[in-house]
Symmetry: C2
Subunit: 489 residues, 2 copies
């Protein structure tokens, strides 16, 4: 994150009493939050590390209201910070301290408009909570695969605006791959109706992919048509002690065929990451101890229910693990025998973030490289960081099948946050230089927001940045839509 939460040059047109009256005429009193206490959850990011300000939080109830609000702001040049569940990790949804405009929260637009189980799609408003959508799909015997830590409070509009990742990307792709159509309110207030339930549509430029991942800087996603999949009916979950990350990659490479192409998740864990969860999260069991630092959470799933006597996912996985044990890649393994054991394994994976916060300060980098280069990245990255601060405690983890590692470190025992902070710039530079040298990404799934705006400017070419700026200027000539995020103009 930047040392100071200092904004680039952004519009500072204030919300006048007349504009406020205009906003009230559009959304009514129930759609406006003016008191400081009410605004507080919308102007502070959930990590508590960034606090900004806003003249007013506007909560429209319909696309038409969003459009009218944006038109009013466009007319006056007032800056808008669109916000979903405010669970982002990069400050993209948090207004700057110098922000003089509005926060536009989508939270009231939370209707599921249509579910089409035969067509495997679902049309929803942007303010639906992710977990609600997972449950809606399940109630129709369908599966909406997007799954991540914040799912109980993040909103689908934010997930799509940030092209969220999570633990099902390996099989189903990022958030952008789960979308057939979008409705977007453009920076001038016009509504682009691209709300099509179409798997194929080659009619000109693909606008929807431009808005996904743009973090609200090109427009406000108000509705989406989401793809659904068959509900999983036969799931096998295993915890593997593996030789090293190279073994993990090779195991995954062979798992595709062995599972009938049904690998769902493949998450790398370390002994240190597991131990920090065991220390801080009550009720968690250690699935197995083994003479290795590396573990793998491997899940296979099929929508075909296991028939009596037939080979199911568990049997296939068991045969596979026996073979992998013979190769020396797997040191030991346990397959969950029931839902509770599977849940325990997932709890370990999902509790690393809160457990490491409980442990104290740390550093984490959301990087990706080509999948086959992950072992080499971990190797070189650990060497580079430990050279700078030998007592730092690494616990790399994450979506190894996507080439996406959360390259994470706990503070050395006894070191306070202020001291660690002095090492942070050198460590960040070392990690990100290595990412660049290995043709990787400095933000695999968390985005840019505010926190990585300087790093993006440092690591991406002028040509790439200029191309992005051209697009921004073309769609948002007044620079009112989440200004100063992703790019400095």
């Amino acid at each position: 994150m930047p040392d100071t939460f200092a904004p680039p040059s952004i519009p500072t047109v204030p919300v006048t009493p007349a504009v406020l009256d205009g906003l009230r005429a559009i959304v009514g009193d129930k759609g406006l939050i003016l008191d400081e206490q009410g605004k507080e959850p919308f102007v502070r990011d959930w990590r508590g590390s960034l606090v900004g300000t806003a003249a007013v939080v506007v909560r429209p109830g319909t696309t038409e209201e969003v459009s009218k609000v944006v038109k009013l702001c466009y007319q006056h040049g007032i800056a808008i910070v669109p916000q979903g569940g405010n669970t982002g990790l990069m400050g993209g949804a948090t207004p700057y301290p110098t922000h003089s405009g509005i926060v536009l929260s989508l939270g009231r637009m939370n209707k599921v408009i249509e579910v089409d189980p035969v067509g495997y799609s679902m049309t929803v408003e942007a303010g639906c909570i992710l977990q609600t959508l997972q449950e809606t799909a399940a109630s129709h015997d369908r599966f909406f695969p997007l799954s991540l830590g914040a799912q109980g409070s993040c909103l689908i509009g934010g997930n799509l605006s940030t092209n969220a990742g999570g633990v099902q990307v390996l099989r189903y792709g990022n958030a952008r791959n789960l979308v057939m159509g979008l409705e977007v309110v453009l920076p001038n207030g016009d509504v682009w109706n691209g709300l099509r339930s179409l798997k194929k549509d080659n009619t000109g430029y693909d606008l929807k992919h431009l808005f996904m991942g743009a973090e609200g800087t090109l427009g406000i996603i108000t509705k989406a048509v989401l793809k659904l999949w068959p509900a999983p009916k036969d799931v096998a979950t295993a915890w593997l002690a593996v030789r090293d990350p190279q073994a993990a990659i090779e195991i995954l490479s062979e798992a595709h065929a062995a599972s009938d192409d049904n690998v769902g998740s493949c998450e790398l864990m370390s002994r240190a990451g597991t131990d920090v969860v065991l220390r801080h999260i009550p009720g968690v069991q250690d699935p197995l101890k083994a003479d290795t630092n590396w573990y793998l959470l491997l899940e296979w799933s099929s929508s075909r229910p296991k028939a009596d006597g037939a080979e199911g996912m568990s049997e296939k996985l068991e045969h596979f693990l026996a073979e992998q044990f013979e190769t020396g890649r797997v040191r030991d393994a346990v397959i969950a025998q029931n839902e509770a054991q599977a849940r325990n394994m997932w709890t370990i994976r999902e509790s690393v973030a809160p457990a490491s916060r409980a442990e104290g300060g740390g550093l984490s980098f959301d990087i990706s490289v080509s999948t086959s280069k992950v072992p080499s990245f971990i190797d070189k990255g650990l060497k580079a960081v430990l050279e700078i601060l030998p007592s730092i405690r690494p616990y790399p983890l994450g979506h190894i099948g996507d080439g996406n590692i959360h390259f994470s470190f706990m503070s050395p025992v006894g070191m306070d946050r202020e001291t660690l902070r002095q090492y942070a710039p050198a460590i960040t530079r070392a990690v990100n230089d290595l990412v660049r040298d290995m043709a990787g990404s400095i933000s695999a799934e968390h985005g840019i927001g505010v926190d990585k705006i300087d790093e993006l400017a440092h690591y991406r070419s002028k040509i790439e940045l200029d191309t992005m700026r051209s697009l921004k200027r073309a769609l948002d000539p007044k620079n009112i839509m989440n200004p100063g995020k992703i790019l400095r103009l």
Copy 2:
């Protein structure tokens, strides 16, 4: 297609002798085609229905040469028509008769740069023939799923620029879903290096999706990192006589679970479409006769080899078809017992286009609607067209699982092309109005090019068209990159 091949307003700066010298200095004599006979295959579309012109055909051998050629053209305001294998169906790669600039052919850039079987990726130049890439992947025990009729001569750069579809979209997605990274020469000649082997990369706007589907109007794709999949090892192919399109949709909906999520292809066929193939294509066998007009080519495949005694894809498919027979959806079915029988089924599907050409004139619409609406679309569409011309002979077919139907008609027996042409505008309007009313797409996979430029302008909203124009102007301010395709500025 438009009645006349008349261009919108496009730049008409000529290639002067000085510019020609400049081009020669960049690509050498071997990279220039100046004689009319040599240029002919590059200025005529492969259907033979559009013939344009070009001052010179330029065939660069490297990205650096492409960049220099484009820089030279940019400097002088000379229009460029980028071209792959020239197999497009919408005239997007064909220069206009008033074109005064160059055709830039990628055909010499045909190197496979790297294959990474462990990372499931392959880095290639834009001029590689699609079939070569399929074979390259297979030689590494991997699968590159893009598969379509022109695969023996189309180039991957063109496939990506048009976001090609084909018969594997149901499982693997359109061409854009098969790509991890791109290298693109921008309209000003700058090279955007987005050639990343990354499954996840949330660092600002997703530029690659903007260039895919842009039909060469925003830049020239010069290299790509393609995703690979495990090679299929156990494939079951069946030909089903089905009650009607609604039955086909329901069969597919249940096939996902029954196949362990391994449905590869699901292609709708009709009796009329099959018969036209049997009439014109030698050596093809009719898989089965049944009392229905509707057939389905269904293929399940897994990368897991069938183990002795274990249930393989064929056995699963057989059980499934027996169940579907009980429901009345399937009237009869045959599972291919060997590669030759499977090949015969695929030959029927792939030969519909050449067979219908041999049959004489016709009309075809590449439409998509929400998958669950396909039966209703076929029903209403047939009624509307037969009302205009009762003796026209429909043979709808295609990618029913993608909601994408090639809504095709043979000329009435004995009617000449000129007479049919008089009915074409009314039929086109009826079909496309229905597509619009059902929130579908007037070009599911073939794109816009020249042929559908007026229809796009008619059926898409002003807001959508204006947004596309803003993007075009932002990236190609001099309008030199495939001008007058997709959009009129």
